[in-house]
């Protein structure tokens, strides 16, 4: 192949090497301009305890009573409704009770007292007043600010009281604030 390569045509005509480099330089400028056409978007900071993120959480009113998680221990005073599957934990203050929720892009968060947030509670009460049938309740999105507390690696989740428990997985425990409904 080397011998064949040596016999190849050299470029006989065309821009000089310096002009070629000029073309490349110009192309780089155009590339920078094209790259910037993606628009300005705020990047989310790396997830870590104490970091606050915006999350669009998808909900129906009956999620308040249907969703549950299980973690053996408490996380900064927050806890799931179950210490282990089928071993429920007595829950007093609902603001400390953690439950699993999904964002619109299917990210799982364990959020404490989401339905105690005024906007979420008001929306859920309104929907429950219309119907208690889960399938008939409209889905809505709560845009909340979440303060990350801890990444737990052994959480199990359940999406309805009669549903199966998921295998252990990892998720961030978070405290919500400033929720608004869409």
């Amino acid at each position: 192949m080397m011998a064949a390569c040596k016999k190849q045509l050299r470029p006989a005509q065309g821009p000089s090497p310096r002009a070629q480099l000029g073309m490349v330089g110009l192309a780089l400028l155009v590339a920078a301009a094209l790259w910037s056409t993606r628009g300005k978007i705020a990047r989310r900071p790396p997830l870590a305890p104490g970091v606050e993120i915006e999350a669009p959480i998808t909900l129906v009113a009956s999620d308040r009573d249907d969703l549950a998680c299980s973690i053996e221990r408490e996380v900064n005073g927050l806890h799931c409704a179950f210490a282990a599957p089928e071993r429920s934990r007595s829950s007093g203050d609902r603001r400390l009770l953690v439950a699993p929720y999904l964002t619109l892009d299917r990210e799982l968060y364990l959020i404490a007292g989401l339905f105690e947030q005024p906007a979420v509670r008001a929306r859920a009460e309104r929907d429950r007043a219309l119907t208690t049938n889960r399938d008939a309740q409209p889905r809505f999105t709560a845009h909340c600010r979440l303060e990350l507390v801890e990444l737990v690696r052994d959480v199990r989740t359940r999406w309805s009281p009669s549903g199966p428990w998921s295998p252990p997985s990892e998720a961030w425990v978070a405290r919500p604030s400033n929720c608004r409904i869409e």
Binding site: Q8, P11, G14, Q20, M23, A42, E54, L104
Partner: protein, 425 residues
């Protein structure tokens, strides 16, 4: 003479290669493609598209469960291997597809260099694969098709270079690896037969070396069964293979919203959004859409090549002299080989009613890109300025599309500018 003057005079004496523009542009394109593939591999931290099929069925190989996926074990064994090394994390799931995605760049370059006997064709082919979104997206997702394409490219390289028995054995083993990822790899056997038995480029009896493909296929399947605590005797592998085959042959209803008929792949009507994560004011997305200029370039060169081959066959029948000028005249074997490798992965979807998806086109598209690289090299050698400008245009289009291949935050408006056909979003 001051130091600055001496520096200027030395710089003036430096003789730049007449190919300096090509070297710099292809080098930058390859670097850009590598960087785009490797950055932010762990994002999003959850499954996207069909990743769950392969990751959840890779896990049993680490914990003695059962792989319920409908493809042979090799792809999932590889994913399991990286999960064992890196952990059961998003980066762990996607590490091997990334490695194979990088290997694809090198393989495309090697195959182009071999077939067109020109390092410039190698550089351009590698650059085209590096900056094409179809290849980039499948290098960043825990799916099998990028890895399958590596096996197609590696097998093709081994098949076209095979001259002796050991070469054919190696090529057959690679074919076996392709089949071990997805059954569609079986079409490579036809290329092996064509090159050895029909064209006689290697000892004709060496075609029997295809047995090494069977050995490789059995070995990986037996390993998969053994790791999940099941019987791995040849009969068990045969029965598992038969069961998978029956399952695939029954998948003919085309009801999955992601399905697309093979003849729509050339337009392309339905590329897939492999990831879509909303962010404030926009989204982070990854589409399987290729570089539009390269995509249409593949269509054009493949169609022209088919016509050129038909004309050549007609001339042979009429005993007329063959054309020896022009791109196709100068590279008849490369054209024949690349068209064969381009068409083979598409054939199963033409001749059967099996549900088809655009990712089935990825291996074929790779060979199409190599053919386009050959044509671009031909142009470059004759009209350097035009050839270089064409390469730069490809690169600029890729820069424009890079945010929707690399899952960069992008506004909805900018997404719509890039994915301007409604079925692309």
């Amino acid at each position: 003479m001051t130091f600055v003057n001496r520096l200027r005079s030395s710089a003036a004496r430096v003789r730049l290669s007449p190919d300096v523009g090509l070297l710099v542009v292809t080098g930058l394109m390859i670097l850009f493609g590598v960087g785009l593939r490797a950055q932010g591999l762990g994002f999003p931290p959850h499954f996207t598209f069909d990743e769950h099929h392969f990751v959840e069925n890779a896990r049993p190989y680490l914990s003695s469960g059962i792989d319920r996926n409908d493809h042979p074990p090799l792809g999932k064994l590889l994913i399991a291997l990286s999960m064992r090394w890196v952990g059961d994390t998003p980066t762990g799931w996607r590490l091997f597809p990334l490695c194979f995605g990088l290997v694809n760049i090198a393989l495309a370059g090697a195959l182009a260099g071999r077939l067109f006997r020109d390092w410039r064709a190698a550089a351009i082919a590698a650059a085209f694969v590096a900056v094409d979104g179809f290849f980039i997206s499948y290098s960043r997702t825990a799916l099998l098709d990028g890895m399958l394409t590596s096996m197609f490219l590696a097998s093709a390289l081994a098949i076209v270079t095979a001259r002796r028995w050991p070469d054919v054995l190696l090529a057959s083993a690679l074919v076996g690896l392709a089949v071990s990822i997805k059954f569609s790899g079986i079409t490579l056997v036809a290329a092996l037969v064509m090159m050895t038995l029909v064209l006689g480029r290697a000892p004709r009896l060496a075609v029997l070396g295809v047995g090494s493909a069977v050995v490789v296929y059995y070995a990986q399947y037996a390993l998969g069964l053994a790791l999940t605590g099941r019987d791995f005797a040849p009969r068990a592998v045969w029965e598992a293979t038969l069961s998978l085959t029956k399952h695939h042959l029954a998948l003919t209803d085309m009801t999955n919203p992601a399905t697309s008929h093979w003849y729509t792949w050339f337009t392309p009507r339905r590329p897939l959004l492999l990831a879509q994560v909303p962010v404030e004011g926009g989204a982070r997305v990854m589409t399987s859409l290729g570089n539009p200029l390269l995509w249409w370039g593949v269509n054009f060169v493949v169609l022209s090549g088919i016509f050129a081959l038909l004309e050549s066959a007609l001339r042979r029948l009429r005993k007329l002299p063959q054309r020896i000028d022009g791109f196709f005249g100068e590279h008849r074997f490369a054209l024949f080989a690349l068209l064969m490798f381009y068409l083979l992965p598409i054939v199963p979807w033409i001749v059967s009613r099996r549900d088809s998806y655009i990712w089935h086109y990825l291996p074929a598209y790779g060979f199409g890109l190599i053919l386009v690289a050959g044509a671009a090299t031909h142009l470059y050698k004759r009209r350097l300025g035009a050839g270089l400008a064409a390469l730069i245009l490809v690169a600029e289009i890729s820069v424009f599309y890079a945010p929707v291949w690399g899952k960069y935050p992008i506004t909805h408006r900018a997404i719509a500018q890039r994915l301007f056909v409604s079925t692309w979003r």
